[in-house]
């Protein structure tokens, strides 16, 4: 009797636990979790672990033997070149994102107005710059901008125009890296905006037209509000990716001339890997994280709020 009284709760608990496990396994969310587990493991291994490791590295001294807290950041704040890199990264990212968004928006409208039959062909062609690996397409641009054998300069010479030092002059070099970034990134905006345009109900335009709205009013009061979330999220993602850009600048100018095209990633590589100061390199690359994180929180909160209003 006593034995039975003692053993009963254990058995009940075990049965409940087995049943709970079975029920958990039968839930769709659990199945989804286990199916996503390989990908989650990869992300943990290749993204989260390196991210935390770089945080750890940024708190070490140059020889990586001593914890120095935030000293690497305070050191950077006193460096003239660091602030030059901050300025250039902002110029590079903001200019490139604005132009990518503008070009993407205009081209998306053109493509949207092409009859459905030929639209797929145009969409495919316009996506080409985005689908080619940037390292490869930037090499082609490098040949076009080559200091001594620029194909652009060859064409300009035919019209009697002096050669342009595309990568030899600091300001032309900045222009060149931004141009290539826009060329590669604009199709992403185009395809996102095109998808957004297609999701705007036709009835809204019809209603606006009945109300006597002109083209500009239809754009301002119908198209833009309906695309607002997509514009915000695309701009955010692109801003983050453009701030972290490495390949275009590295291949085209390697940060030169006289450091005038360095962005965070290229300067971090120069200081950390080539210069053998890994903690300082890690600090440079982490500098933008808090700023972009705050921007991301605000933009995503705004999107969520609008979503719940709808």
């Amino acid at each position: 009797m006593v034995d039975a009284a003692i053993s009963a709760p254990h058995e009940v608990a075990a049965t409940r636990s087995r049943g709970g496990l079975r029920r958990a396994m039968q839930r769709k969310s659990s199945v989804a979790f286990f199916m996503a587990l390989p990908l989650i493991s990869l992300i943990v291994l290749l993204v989260i672990y390196p991210a935390f490791y770089s945080l750890h590295l940024a708190t070490l001294n140059k020889s990586m033997e001593r914890f120095v807290g935030l000293s690497n950041f305070t050191f950077l704040f006193n460096r003239q070149t660091f602030w030059l890199v901050v300025k250039q990264s902002c110029i590079f990212a903001i200019t490139a994102v604005v132009f990518k968004a503008l070009i993407g928006f205009i081209v998306a409208h053109f493509v949207h107005n092409i009859p459905a039959k030929g639209q797929r062909k145009w969409r495919g062609m316009l996506l080409v710059p985005w689908v080619i690996p940037p390292a490869m397409s930037t090499l082609a641009w490098l040949w076009l901008f080559d200091p001594s054998y620029s194909a652009f300069n060859w064409v300009l010479a035919i019209f009697g125009i002096d050669p342009v030092p595309w990568t030899g002059d600091a300001y032309w070099a900045r222009f060149s890296v931004i141009l290539v970034n826009i060329w590669i990134g604009a199709p992403f905006f185009m395809i996102m905006y095109l998808a957004a345009l297609k999701s705007v109900p036709e009835q809204l335009y019809e209603a606006a037209e009945i109300d006597g709205a002109n083209w500009w009013q239809r754009m301002w009061y119908v198209t833009l509000p309906m695309m607002r979330n997509i514009i915000a999220i695309t701009a955010l993602f692109s801003l983050i990716v453009t701030f972290a850009n490495f390949d275009i600048v590295r291949i085209l100018t390697a940060g030169g001339p006289i450091d005038m095209t360095h962005v965070f990633a290229t300067w971090s590589f120069r200081v950390g890997i080539e210069g053998g100061d890994i903690p300082l390199g890690a600090s440079v690359s982490l500098f933008m994280v808090p700023i972009l994180a705050v921007a991301a929180i605000f933009i995503l909160r705004d999107i969520t709020r609008r979503g719940s209003e709808v």
Partner: protein, 447 residues
């Protein structure tokens, strides 16, 4: 319970001495300790087939010593050599022997096995190494790497015989005759400047880059040395605001007006392309451009002559880039590794490597500057005779020396000297450029 194995003091000292003697002698004799496995990461030579000489030498040694070897040839493109050594140094695992470029031995010194014993023996056999090799390979008075034949190079002038004669009135073959000592007392930086001006006027400017890659920085380093311009001395004292530095910058300003306008954007391939395309009369490079011209533009190759640097007020300094072979202190077969390093540094081994590279590689030892390859390579006959420093005609130097390694590597990698030259040339006042450089150097001092 008392121990049964009592060891007397005399016995302990005797055993310790015997073990120590065996350890010291191990690298040079074939013992059971020299067997086992050895993983080696060599630099992947850009000259087709040049890796084969190294491979054959290693396999011969491995067969003799009964060591199982695994060789990887790691290219320097994309900084793969730098990244591999950084990863292995962090992971404390990897190859037993790894090739290291200029500044890497000093950077990884705390994880490298000292090779004083190997170097002492090699110097005794092969003669001294120049002070630049010592500066790069020794840390705190101890050798941490053995200078490698493969990859080491002098980046002196490679001139067009015809264009220099025609436009600058300089006979480079007469200055540096094949098979004879140099006759180049009049070959100074002032003459060089006049020649640059003449060739620029004729439409064949000298192709000297001012970007931040190695070729550009190496040339700047040697011109700065020629004026005695030191940015930071061996005691970490910043000397940038000095007259020699001002003179060097002023020289660069005068020189740059005769160079192609886009030189601030040049990388290590730009000067090669410039010469091979027949656009310029002179570049600063090892004979790689000549080798490419031999294949792609034979009419240009026939007119190329590699020779010594012009002398400045403080001497004749040539840019020298050294590669090293190192063994990690965490390596599992250090005695075998040292034995192989000694084998690769023998005269016969170095001669084979130089021949396989078509004369590109320069061994560091004094007695290895007279190989037949440099006499025989053509066209034209004797074009590489004066490529090695065979008559001690010039001082082999590296940019940023004699600054302590941690500062020097930053000066070199960040291209501080070329950036100073470009800033000043583009109109920045001399003192402002020097003040900017001083600020940069203060940042490089961090530890």
């Amino acid at each position: 319970m008392p121990s049964r194995n009592k060891i007397s003091r005399r016995k302990f000292i005797g055993t310790t001495t015997a073990v120590s003697a065996t350890m010291v002698a191990a690298p040079f004799v074939r013992t059971a300790g020299a067997a086992g496995k050895l993983a080696i990461g060599f630099w992947d030579h850009w000259v087709p087939g040049a890796n084969n000489a190294t491979k054959t030498l290693v396999e011969e040694w491995a067969a003799k010593e009964k060591v199982e070897v695994q060789m990887d040839f790691i290219p320097s493109q994309g900084n793969k050599l730098i990244l591999t050594s950084a990863a292995e140094s962090q992971a404390k695992a990897g190859h037993d022997i790894i090739a290291m470029s200029t500044w890497l031995p000093a950077e990884h010194a705390r994880n490298l096995e000292p090779v004083d014993d190997v170097m002492a023996e090699l110097i005794k056999q092969n003669g001294n190494v120049n002070p630049t090799v010592e500066y790069l390979g020794k840390v705190n008075g101890s050798w941490v790497a053995v200078p490698a034949t493969v990859g080491s190079q002098i980046k002196g002038p490679c001139s067009r015989i015809d264009l220099m004669k025609q436009h600058a009135g300089i006979d480079v073959q007469a200055m540096y005759p094949a098979g004879q000592k140099a006759n180049a007392d009049g070959w100074t930086l002032d003459v060089f400047l006049k020649a640059a001006e003449a060739c620029h006027k004729a439409g064949y400017p000298f192709g000297i880059g001012l970007g931040t890659t190695a070729d550009n920085v190496d040339t700047a380093g040697s011109i700065f040395h020629s004026y005695g311009a030191v940015l930071v001395d061996a005691n970490e004292k910043i000397l940038v605001k000095s007259d020699p530095v001002r003179q060097a910058l002023d020289y660069y300003k005068r020189l740059m007006q005769f160079l192609p306008p886009d030189v601030p954007a040049w990388d290590d391939s730009s000067n090669n392309k410039w010469l091979v395309a027949g656009k310029g009369a002179l570049i600063m490079n090892p004979p790689s451009a000549w080798a490419v011209a031999k294949r792609d533009a034979p009419q240009v190759a026939q007119q190329l002559w590699t020779h010594g640097m012009p002398a400045g007020p403080k001497g004749r300094f040539a840019p020298f880039v050294n590669y090293f072979w190192s063994t990690w202190s965490f390596g599992k077969n250090k005695s075998a590794a040292k034995s192989l390093l000694a084998h690769l540094s023998q005269r016969s081994s170095a001669e084979k490597m130089v021949a396989a590279s078509g004369g590109y590689d320069i061994p560091s030892f004094e007695k290895f500057q007279d190989f037949k390859t440099w006499e025989e390579e053509s066209p034209p006959q004797g074009t590489l005779y004066h490529y090695p420093n065979r008559h001690n005609h010039q001082v082999l130097s590296v940019a940023a020396a004699p600054a302590p390694h941690k500062v020097a590597v930053q000066i070199y990698v960040q291209g501080l000297m070329t950036k100073m030259a470009v800033r000043h040339f583009q109109g920045e006042a001399m003192e402002k450029t020097l003040a900017w450089a001083e600020g940069e150097l203060e940042g490089f001092m961090r530890s």
